[in-house]
């Protein structure tokens, strides 16, 4: 173990840690606002990464048809639920807007040669394809039972996860994929090399975390979400729609998941079923934060990344065991510290 090795491992740990931090934040966000443990978050990561990979290798995409199907179901439900009420002009506009969005996305994916687009455009297209699935997922699977017990929500969440893994296999195949790096250059500080892709990941993650912080501290919508997280009934009384809160958090989670996927796709090979383990590590971070504290969760996730990197070096066979054993002392500590409140 010398400085160079430590630096490389640290770099690797921070890169993964940054991704885990992003994921643990979205798990926390979704949990506090909707009481859903978002197990399918990892699938947004793999869908993002594999869609980018498919776009770059020029494989025909199939994802847009999944999006189209889901959106059409969503629109149909919108129409159906308003069948015997007078429909306001605003609701008509909303439906028209959704249909127009779908038409534009389908038009873009069908007309352009996607593999020749600049990487930024490919990333944006991937996000456009995947992020709408977040709110639709909430609308279809969770909104009808928003008042159910957390255990029921957890079970539905697991079911959605299993379904999405299967769909992932169908859409992307079992081969796994990875993408071209944003930039190939290496940064050299004295005799330590830093991969620029690692910097991309770390700085993008930092930027996203800061953006989230400002959105929640400074904007009305952010504050509304925080209010819904603190007290759902109270928030409802003040006119914050729980449906809106649910959809917004799911959209954010889908965005963060997909963006994480796009960021790490150049570094590693992701498979259709890789998402679960990745989001599980974000979950360890969220547990360290007690499923309540954002800064501690983010910090915990980075620590998970670092421990993973170093245990990979010292005891590669026991890496996962070491990482997941971490959760036990924290659970003990948490349960000793916390005052017990009976859950509903």
């Amino acid at each position: 173990m010398n400085v160079q090795v430590a630096a490389l491992l640290g770099q690797d740990g921070l890169t993964n840690g940054a991704i885990y931090a992003l994921l643990s934040l979205s798990i926390l966000l979704v949990f506090t606002v909707t009481r859903i443990l978002l197990i399918p978050l990892g699938e947004f990561v793999t869908f993002g990464a594999l869609t980018m990979a498919a776009i770059q290798t020029g494989k025909p995409l199939a994802l847009e048809w999944l999006l189209a199907t889901l959106m059409l179901i969503d629109i149909a439900l919108d129409v159906y639920s308003r069948r015997d009420r007078t429909v306001s002009r605003k609701q008509y506009q909303m439906i028209a807007l959704k249909a127009a969005y779908l038409a534009v996305v389908l038009f873009v994916t069908q007309t352009f040669t996607l593999s020749e687009l600049p990487m930024l455009a490919q990333s944006i297209l991937t996000l456009c394809l995947i992020v709408p699935m977040g709110p639709i997922m909430y609308r279809l699977f969770f909104q009808p039972l928003a008042d159910a017990a957390p255990l029921v929500l957890l079970i539905v969440s697991i079911a959605v996860h299993v379904a999405m893994v299967g769909i992932g296999l169908l859409l992307f195949g079992p081969e796994g994929g990875h993408t071209k790096p944003f930039s190939n250059s290496m940064l050299q500080i004295s005799n330590i090399f830093i991969k620029s892709q690692a910097l991309w990941v770390i700085f993008s993650a930092l930027f996203l975390i800061l953006a989230l912080f400002f959105a929640f501290e400074r904007t009305l919508y952010g504050k509304a979400l925080r209010a819904a997280a603190v007290n759902q009934v109270g928030a409802r009384l003040l006119g914050i729609s729980p449906v809106f809160a649910g959809k917004a958090t799911f959209a954010l989670a889908a965005f963060i998941g997909c963006a994480s996927g796009i960021l790490i796709a150049p570094i590693t090979t992701l498979y259709y079923d890789s998402g679960f383990v990745i989001s599980l590590k974000g979950f360890v971070g969220a547990i360290i934060g007690g499923l309540a504290s954002y800064p501690i969760a983010a910090f915990g996730a980075v620590v998970v990344g670092l421990i993973e990197a170093f245990s990979m070096f010292w005891a590669s066979s026991y890496k996962e065991i070491i990482v997941f054993t971490l959760i036990i002392p924290f659970l003990i500590w948490r349960s000793m510290k916390a005052s017990h409140v009976e859950d509903e």
């Binding site: 590693t268 079923d273 990745i278 990197a309 990979m312 070096f313």
Partner: protein, 382 residues
């Protein structure tokens, strides 16, 4: 006619209708077309329509089942095939671990099982139970000896190993440790990783610090790519060897420049156009063409393993038919005996010479050395 007699008549009719199907030879095929080993299972499932439709005038019915890579599901599927379908033989399952779990049931019911799996543990060491198992892939040590020969020729003295933490990787590590010490090659680092790991930097650095002359990566499917790209990006300059686990086209696509110059040993299916003319080549070429016309893409080698299982059965069935009728325990036992005396049968993977001791039956004709040149598989001479 009373209701009762009508039912009786119906029953009689039904029983006469189902009689011919009893004469059929029934073969169950278990593959993992979903789950972690889907990469292996999908080409195997796709090969089922290409299997021989009849042997010695008897038609063969295939009953495909998916075990979604789950060993418990494999056992269930296996029992269903034996107890309900009363099959005469079973091809599958796809995974090494899955296969290990069903050997006892194959032996108990006396059903020949043709396992297209990687690990030699299903047929070695030979036991009373494993007598019922035949393996249509090259044993790890056959592939390994080809690689070690090449290492010796090119003067490799120290070797680093990195493999997956599963039966595939572990068996390779076992085989290589023995072969390396026999050939005075020192193994200076032995690391493992998980297929779904997003980063293998730690293991690569450890290999790099041990600075071996060459590194062997033992991982099935696309998971063999990440160790190699990581090793290259951390600056490893030595020769990288891969096993037949990497013998897939996605390996080239995912690996890109990083896999250039890799050396691996595998069946000749990867380099069909360059291989010398042998019976195996003709069979493999036909199989690949048929597969392509059905699915519009090239089959992975794993599909060939299932196809070979079909060929083995086709050859063994006529002999077995002489002693017993399909659907009886005697037929299954005769089929097993016939399979065990297969000699000089050319399949897509090589030439089978099965003996009571060796239920895999490959020799050097079952493997060739292959390298990657300009992003394509290339036969390595000598």
């Amino acid at each position: 006619m009373s209701l009762k007699s009508r039912f009786l008549l119906l029953g009689c009719l039904l029983s006469t209708m189902s009689v011919p199907s009893f004469a059929d030879i029934k073969v169950g095929v278990i593959s993992s077309s979903t789950g972690p080993i889907a990469l292996v299972g999908i080409p195997q499932k796709n090969s089922i329509p290409l299997l021989p439709k009849e042997a010695a005038g008897e038609s063969i019915t295939y009953i495909p089942l998916n075990d979604s890579s789950d060993p418990t599901a494999t056992v269930k599927a296996f029992k269903k095939l034996i107890d309900e379908e009363k099959v005469d033989a079973i091809i599958g399952p796809s995974g090494s671990g899955n296969a290990m779990g069903v050997i006892q049931f194959a032996a108990k019911s006396g059903t020949p099982m043709l396992a297209p799996v990687g690990t030699a543990a299903v047929v070695l060491p030979m036991t009373e139970q494993k007598k019922w198992v035949f393996k249509t892939t090259q044993n790890d040590d056959l592939i390994a000896s080809a690689l070690v020969d090449h290492m010796k020729r090119t003067g490799v003295k120290t070797l680093g190993l990195i493999g997956t933490a599963d039966p595939f990787g572990e068996n390779w590590s076992k085989v290589m440790r023995k072969l390396a010490s026999d050939n005075s090659i020192e193994i200076v680092a032995n690391e493992s990783f998980q297929r779904q790991d997003t980063s293998i930097t730690g293991q690569s650095l450890k290999l790099l610090l041990a600075s071996p002359d060459a590194v062997l990566i033992a991982a099935p499917g696309s998971s063999s790519v990440l160790p190699q790209t990581t090793l290259k990006s951390t600056g490893y300059q030595g020769q990288i060897y891969q096993t037949h686990g990497a013998a897939l086209d996605p390996f080239l696509k995912l690996g890109g420049d990083a896999v250039e110059g890799t050396i691996l040993a595998a069946s000749l299916m990867l380099v069909l156009d360059q291989a010398p003319e042998t019976p195996s080549k003709a069979i493999a070429t036909k199989y690949v063409e048929d597969y392509q016309s059905l699915y519009n893409k090239k089959p992975a080698t794993f599909g060939g393993n299932v196809f070979d299982a079909g060929l083995l059965l086709e050859t063994a069935i006529p002999t077995a038919l002489k002693t017993a009728k399909p659907g009886t325990p005697e037929f299954r036992a005769a089929l097993r005996d016939a399979l065990e005396s297969t000699t000089e049968l050319s399949g897509t993977q090589g030439v089978y010479n099965i003996t009571p001791e060796d239920h895999s039956g490959f020799d050097e004709r079952g493997r060739v050395l292959i390298t990657v040149k300009n992003g394509k598989w290339q036969l390595l001479e000598g």
